[in-house]
Symmetry: C2
C-alpha cells in the first residue's frame, strides 16, 4: 500500500517538467529592442545580486541552526533533522531563484508581446507566474514526499521530527525572503515616490529617477521570491501536518494503528499517503487549469484569471473526492473516509471566500475603497482614518470564515470513526482543511507572480519610451495584478493561519504523547493555567512588535534612499532636465535597498526563531499559549495591514481614473499619502507577520524532543502546577 | 469578624465627604468676568444636555437588560441581580454627573485663578479633578460593600452572582459613556480643527469657530465623564473579583471553608472583607496625598502631580501591608497572608511602570516622539508610518510588565497556603493584583480629569480675550495635562486588562464549580479543544471590529460637523471677518455631536453585551476562548492606539515649540495630519476597547447561571467532546 506514495514524487516531477516547458516557452519569446533588454538586464542584475547576497547571509544562519539542531535535539535524530532542515532551505531557495530568473526575463517579453495584443502579453506574464507557482508546489511536494517515504513509511518506527526539519528549513528561508524582500521593495518604492513623484514632480517609472530600477527589482524580490517562499512554506507545512497527526494517532491506538507497516494499519498508511496524493492532484489540476486563462479583451483579464482559479479548484476537488473514495474502499470498513473530503473542501472554499472578501475590501469597484476616495476630499487625515477603519473592519468576515472552516473540518473529521476517536479524527480533519486550502497553491502563486511581471512590463514600456498605447495595455494587466496581489495576500494569510493551526495541533499532540509516555510530567494547556494566559498575551504582542520592527526598517531605509536620490538630482548635471545621455546611478539605489534589507531582516528573523525556543525551555504551557496568541493576533493584524494597504492603493488609483478631480487634485494628493502609508503595511509588515505565525509554530514543533528532555521546561513543577 | 466590613462603607463616606468639601471649595472660587462665565455656561449647558440625553437612552437599555436579567437568570436571584445592576448603573451615572458638574464650573475658575498665580490655578484644576476621582472610587466602594455585606456576608449561602450585577451595571454605563463620549469629543475636535485651523486658517479655540464650544464640551464628556465611568467600572470589577474567588474557594473546601459564618472560616470572611479594606485604605491615602500636589513653578507642575501619585501609592502600600499583617494575626496559623501584600504590590507597581512607559512613548522630551517629529520633515506619510510603528512598538514593554505582574502575583499567592491549594491561592493573588493597581484610582482619575479642566481654562482665556500671559499659564498646565492624560490612558488599559483577567478567572472558577456540582457536563478549556481556538480568534477579532466601528463613527460625525461649520462661515455674514456682535451658532454643533454620539454608541454597545451571551449559549468553551482573545488582543490594540495618538499629538506640540521650522512649517502641517489621525485613535477607539475587554467578561460572569442551566451551551455534547 505504501508504494502508492511514489505517485506523489511522480506528480511533483510532472509539475517540474511542465514548469520547465513553460519557462523555456517564455524565454523563447521576443525580448524587444535593445533599450528594453538593457532595462530588463538592470532589473535581472539587481534581483540576482540581492538574492545572492541574501543567500550568502542565510548560509551562515542555516549552518548555525543546523549545528544547533544536531546538538540540541536528543535521541540521535539531530543530524537527520538538520539534514532535512538544509534540504527544505535549499529547495525553497531554488524555487525562489528559478521564479525570479523567469520573472525578470518575462517582463520585457511581456512588454514586447503587448505591442501585438493583450492576449499575447497576458499569456507571457501568466505563464511566467505559473512557472513559479508550479516550481513552488512541486519542489515542496517532492521534498516532503521523499523524506516521508524514507522516515514515515520506512517500516521502522516513524520519525516525524526529522520531516518537521524540512518544513523548518523552508520556513527559515521564507522568513528572511519575506522580511528582507518586503523591506527591499518598499524602501525603494517609498523613497523613489517621495522624491520623484512628490518633490520633483516627475511621473512614476520615469527613467530620470535613480530609484526606479530598485523599485522594479523590489517588485520581483518581494512579490515573486518573497510570496513564493511564503506559500512554499505554507504548502510544506500544510502537507506535513496531517501526516504528523496520522503518526501520532497510529502510536496512540486508533483505527490508524496496526502492524501492516511499522505501527500502521492500512488506514494508517493511507492517512500518510493520501495528503501527498491530494497535493499531487492539485498540481495536475493546476496544469489543466492553465487552458482556461485566455482572453484578448482588456476588460476580461480579471475574469480569465478567476476562471483559471475556479476551473483548477473544481478539478482539484473532483480528484480529492475520487481519492477519498479510493481510500474508503481500500481501508477498513469501520471508518468512513469520504467525510475527509468535507474537511479539504471546507479549507479550499474558505480560501476562495477569503479571496473574494479581500477583493471586496480592496477593489475600487466596491464601496469601501470608494469611501476612502470620498474621505480624501477633506484631506490626508480623513483618508488615513477611513483607510485604517476599513482595514480593521475587513478582518471581521475573514475571521468568521476561517473559524467556520475550522469548525466544519472538525465536525466532518469527527464523523469518520466512532465517538471514541471523534476528537482525534476531528483534529486530523483540521489538518486536511489546511491542505485543501493550499492544494491549488501553484495557481495562486501564478496569479500573484503575474502581477509584478505586468508591473515591470509597464515600467519598461515607460522607461524605454514606447508609444502610450503599449503602456495602456500593460496598465490594464497591471491594474488586475493589483487586485490579484491583494487576493493572494488574503489567501497567503489565511493559509498561514490554517497551516499554523494544523502545525499547532501536531505540536500539542506530539507533546502530549511525549508527556504521557514519560509519566513524569503533564501538560496543562487549560485557560485556567495563568501561564497559558501569560503566553497568549506575549504571543499576541509579537505581531505588533514585528509590525513595528518592519515598519521602522522601511522608514529608515526609505530615508537613506531619499537622501541618495536627492543627492543625484542635485549633483548629476542635466539629470532632472532630461538631457540626452545623462543616466542616473541606479546601482547606488539598488545597493541601498539590498544592504538595508539584509541588515534589517536579521533581528526579526532571529527573534522569531529564538523566542519560541526560549519560552519552551521555560515552560511548554507558556509556549502553547504563545503560539495561539501569535496565531490569533497575527492573522488579524496581517489581514488588517494587507487590506488597509490594498484599499489605500486602489483609492488612489480610483481617483486617478478621474474621480474627485483626478490626478493632481487635492483629493489625489491626500490619497497618495494613504498609498505611501499602505506600502509597508501591505508589502512588508503584513506579509512578515504571516511568516511569523508559521515560523514560531514549526520551530516549536521541531524542538519538541528538547522540551521533552527538559520535562516540560525548567519552570515546570516550580511555578506551574 | 464580618463587622470589620463596615469599615469599608465608612471609608467610602469619608471619601464622599471630602469630595463634597473639595467641590464646595472649588465652587466658592471667583468665576471671573461675565464673558468668561457666559462661555463656561455654554460648556456647562452643552455637557449637561449631552449627559441628560445620554442617560435618557440609557434608561431604555438599563430597563430592558434588567428585565432580561430577571427572566433569564434561573434560581430566583434574577430580580436581585437586576436590582444590583440598576444600582451599579445609577451610581456610575451619579459619579459621572457630579464630576462633570464640578469640572465644567472649575474651568473658568481656573482661568481666573491663573490671573493671579500658577499655584492657584493648579490648585483649582487639580481639586476639581480629585473631586471626581474620590466620587468615582467612593461610590464604587460604597455600592460593592453594601451589596457584599448583605449577600456575601449575610450568613446564608453567599450569592456572588447578585453582586456581579452591580459591576455589570457600572460596566454598561461605562460602555456607553466611553464610546459615546469618545465619539462626541472627537467629532467636534476633528471637525472644528479641519475647517477652522486647516481651511479657514484661524487659531485653535478661536471664538469665531462654531465648533469650539462643542470641542470644549467634548473634553469634559470624554475625558471627565468617560474616563471616570471607565475607571469606576475597573474599580468595581477589581474589587469584586477577589471576593467572588474567595466565595468559590470557600465552597470548594480550602482554608477559606468553615462554619464561622455561612460556609466561611475566619480566613474566608477576611478574604472577602480585606479587599474592601484595601480599597478603603487607598481612598484615605488619596486624601492624604492631596497635600503633596502644590507648586508655583510652571516647570514643576508635572513633578508636583507625580509627587501626589507617589506619596499616595506609598501610603496605600503601607496601609495594605498593615492590613495583611492584621489578617495574618486574626486568621489561622496554617496560612501566611502576608504574601498577599506581594500580590497587591505587584499590581500597583505594574500600574506605575506602565504609566512611566506610556510617558516615555508619548512625551516630547523622549526619543520616540522626537523621531516622529523628524519624520514629519519628509511629509505626512512618513509621519504616519513612524507614528504607527511607535504605537506598535510601545505595546511590547507594557505587555511584558503586565504578564510579569500576573506571574509575580500568582507566585506570591501560591506561597500563602500549602501546595495542595497553591493554584487556588495563586489565582486569588491575581485578583488582588488588579485591586492593588486600582487602589489609587482616586488620584489617577484626579490627575486625568485635571487635564480637560486646564484645557478648557485655556480655551476660555482665548475666547474671552484675556491677556496672553494668562493663556501661557493655562497652557503650561495643559501641556502637563496632555502627558498625564496619556499616562492615565495607559493606566486605564492595564487596569482594564488586569481586572478582566481577574473577572475571567472568577468566571472560569464559578463555571467549573457549577459543572462539577452537576456532574452532567464538564468544561474543556484546553487549547487542544478547537472550540477554544475558535473562540480566541473571534475574540481577537472584536477589538478590530470595535476599532473600525468607532473610527468610522468619528469619521461620519466629523464630516457632518465640517459641513455645518463650513455652512456657518459661508452663511453667517461677518463671522469669519470677526465683526463685533456676530456670534456663531455653537448650539448647532453641540447638537450634531450629541446626536452622532447617541446614535453611534448603540451598535457597539449592544454587540458588546449580546455577543458573549450568544457564544455562551452556543458553547461555554467558545466563550472562554473568546474572553481570552478579547483580553489579549484588546489590551494590545488599546495600548497601540492610545500611544500612537498621544505620540502624534506631542510630536505636533514639539514642532510648535520651534523645532523643525515651528508652527506653519511643512513639518508642522505633516504633524497636524498625524495629530488628527491620532485623535480618534487615542480618545475614541482605544478607550472603547478598554471597556469592551471588561464588559464582555463581566457579562459572561453574570450569565454563568444561564449557561449552567443550558449545561454548558446548546452545542455541548453535539460538537464538543
Amino acid at each position: 500500500m505504501q508504494y502508492l506514495a511514489w505517485l506523489a514524487p511522480i506528480a511533483a516531477i510532472v509539475g517540474l517538467v511542465f514548469a520547465a516547458y513553460l519557462a523555456f516557452w517564455v524565454l523563447r519569446q521576443d525580448p524587444g529592442n535593445e533599450r528594453m533588454q538593457h532595462l530588463s538586464g538592470l532589473i535581472q542584475k539587481g534581483g540576482q545580486a540581492f538574492l545572492i547576497a541574501e543567500y550568502k547571509s542565510l548560509i551562515v544562519f542555516v549552518v548555525i541552526v543546523a549545528i544547533l539542531l544536531s546538538v540540541a535535539l536528543p535521541g540521535g535524530h539531530g543530524w537527520q533533522t538538520a539534514l532535512a532542515f538544509i534540504t527544505g532551505g535549499v529547495l525553497s531557495v531554488l524555487a525562489g531563484y528559478i521564479g525570479m530568473y523567469v520573472a525578470t526575463r518575462a517582463n520585457t517579453r511581456t512588454t514586447q508581446a503587448a505591442t501585438v495584443s493583450i492576449a499575447g502579453a497576458l499569456k507571457v506574464a501568466y505563464r511566467s507566474g505559473l512557472t513559479m507557482g508550479l516550481v513552488v508546489a512541486s519542489l515542496g511536494l517532492l521534498g516532503i514526499a521523499l523524506w516521508a517515504i524514507f522516515f514515515l513509511l520506512s517500516g521502522h518506527n516513524p520519525e516525524p521530527e526529522v520531516v518537521d526539519g524540512f518544513v523548518m528549513g523552508a520556513s527559515s528561508i521564507a522568513l528572511f525572503a519575506r522580511v528582507g524582500g518586503g523591506i527591499y521593495t518598499k524602501a525603494a518604492d517609498v523613497g523613489a515616490d517621495l522624491v520623484g513623484k512628490v518633490e520633483a514632480g516627475i511621473p512614476e517609472d520615469d527613467p530620470r529617477n535613480p530609484g526606479v530600477i530598485a523599485d522594479n527589482v523590489g517588485d520581483n524580490v518581494g512579490d515573486v521570491a518573497g510570496m513564493g517562499a511564503d506559500l512554499n512554506e505554507s504548502y510544506a507545512g500544510a502537507l506535513l501536518a496531517p501526516m504528523v497527526l496520522a503518526v501520532a494517532m497510529a502510536l496512540a491506538g486508533t483505527p490508524f494503528s496496526g502492524s501492516v507497516l511499522g505501527p500502521f494499519s492500512v488506514d494508517g498508511i493511507l492517512a500518510i499517503v493520501m495528503p501527498m496524493l491530494f497535493a499531487g492532484g492539485g498540481i495536475i489540476a493546476c496544469i489543466i487549469g492553465l487552458a482556461a486563462v485566455n482572453t484578448n479583451d482588456s476588460s476580461k483579464i480579471h475574469a480569465a484569471l478567476n476562471r483559471g482559479t475556479y476551473v483548477t479548484s473544481g478539478i482539484t476537488l473532483a480528484l480529492i473526492l475520487v481519492l477519498c473514495i479510493v481510500w474508503n474502499s481500500l481501508g477498513s470498513a469501520e471508518i468512513n473516509t469520504v467525510w475527509l473530503f468535507g474537511c479539504t473542501a471546507a479549507g479550499l472554499a474558505a480560501g476562495l471566500a477569503i479571496g473574494k472578501l479581500t477583493e471586496y475590501y480592496t477593489s475600487y469597484h466596491q464601496k469601501p475603497v470608494q469611501k476612502i476616495a470620498d474621505a480624501s476630499e477633506s484631506g490626508s487625515a480623513t483618508n488615513i482614518i477611513e483607510g485604517l477603519a476599513t482595514g480593521m473592519l475587513s478582518t471581521v468576515a475573514p475571521a468568521i470564515v476561517l473559524v467556520a472552516a475550522v469548525a466544519v473540518a472538525y465536525l466532518c473529521g469527527m464523523q469518520v470513526a466512532g465517538e471514541q476517536y471523534a476528537m482525534q479524527f476531528g483534529v486530523y480533519g483540521i489538518g486536511l482543511s489546511a491542505l485543501g486550502m493550499l492544494s491549488t497553491t501553484a495557481v495562486t502563486v501564478g496569479v500573484d507572480a503575474y502581477g509584478p511581471v505586468a508591473d515591470n512590463a509597464g515600467g519598461i514600456a515607460e522607461m524605454a519610451g514606447l508609444p502610450p498605447e503599449i503602456r495602456e495595455r500593460t496598465d490594464a494587466l497591471d491594474t488586475v495584478g493589483n487586485t490579484t496581489a491583494a487576493v493572494a495576500k488574503g489567501f497567503a494569510v489565511s493559509s498561514a493561519a490554517l497551516t499554523a493551526l494544523a502545525l499547532f495541533v501536531s505540536f500539542k499532540t506530539n507533546l502530549a504523547a511525549k508527556a504521557a509516555e514519560s509519566g513524569e510530567w503533564s501538560l496543562n494547556l487549560s485557560l485556567d493555567n495563568p501561564y497559558v494566559i501569560v503566553g497568549v498575551v506575549i504571543g499576541a504582542m509579537m505581531p505588533f512588535f514585528f509590525g513595528a520592527m518592519t515598519m521602522g526598517a522601511v522608514s529608515r531605509a526609505a530615508n537613506k534612499m531619499i537622501i541618495e536620490i536627492r543627492r543625484q538630482f542635485r549633483e548629476i548635471k542635466g539629470l532632472l532636465a532630461g538631457e540626452e545621455g545623462v543616466e542616473p546611478d541606479t546601482e547606488a539605489c539598488v545597493t541601498i535597498s539590498t544592504n538595508a534589507a539584509l541588515r534589517e531582516m536579521l533581528l526579526p528573523g532571529i527573534l522569531a526563531v529564538v523566542i519560541p525556543v526560549l519560552l519552551g525551555v521555560l515552560d511548554v504551557n507558556i509556549l502553547a499559549g504563545f503560539l495561539v496568541g501569535v496565531l490569533a493576533a497575527g492573522f488579524l493584524m496581517s489581514v488588517y495591514m494587507a487590506n488597509a494597504g490594498g484599499a489605500w492603493d486602489n483609492a488612489k488609483k480610483y481617483i486617478e481614473t478621474g474621480q474627485h478631480g483626478g490626478k493632481g487634485s487635492d483629493a489625489h494628493k491626500a490619497a497618495v499619502v494613504g498609498d505611501t502609508v499602505g506600502d509597508p503595511f501591505k508589502d512588508t509588515s503584513g506579509p512578515s507577520i504571516n511568516i511569523l505565525i508559521k515560523v514560531v509554530t514549526v520551530v516549536s514543533l521541531v524542538f519538541v524532543p528538547l522540551f521533552y528532555t527538559l520535562e516540560g521546561g525548567i519552570l515546570h513543577g516550580f511555578l506551574s502546577f
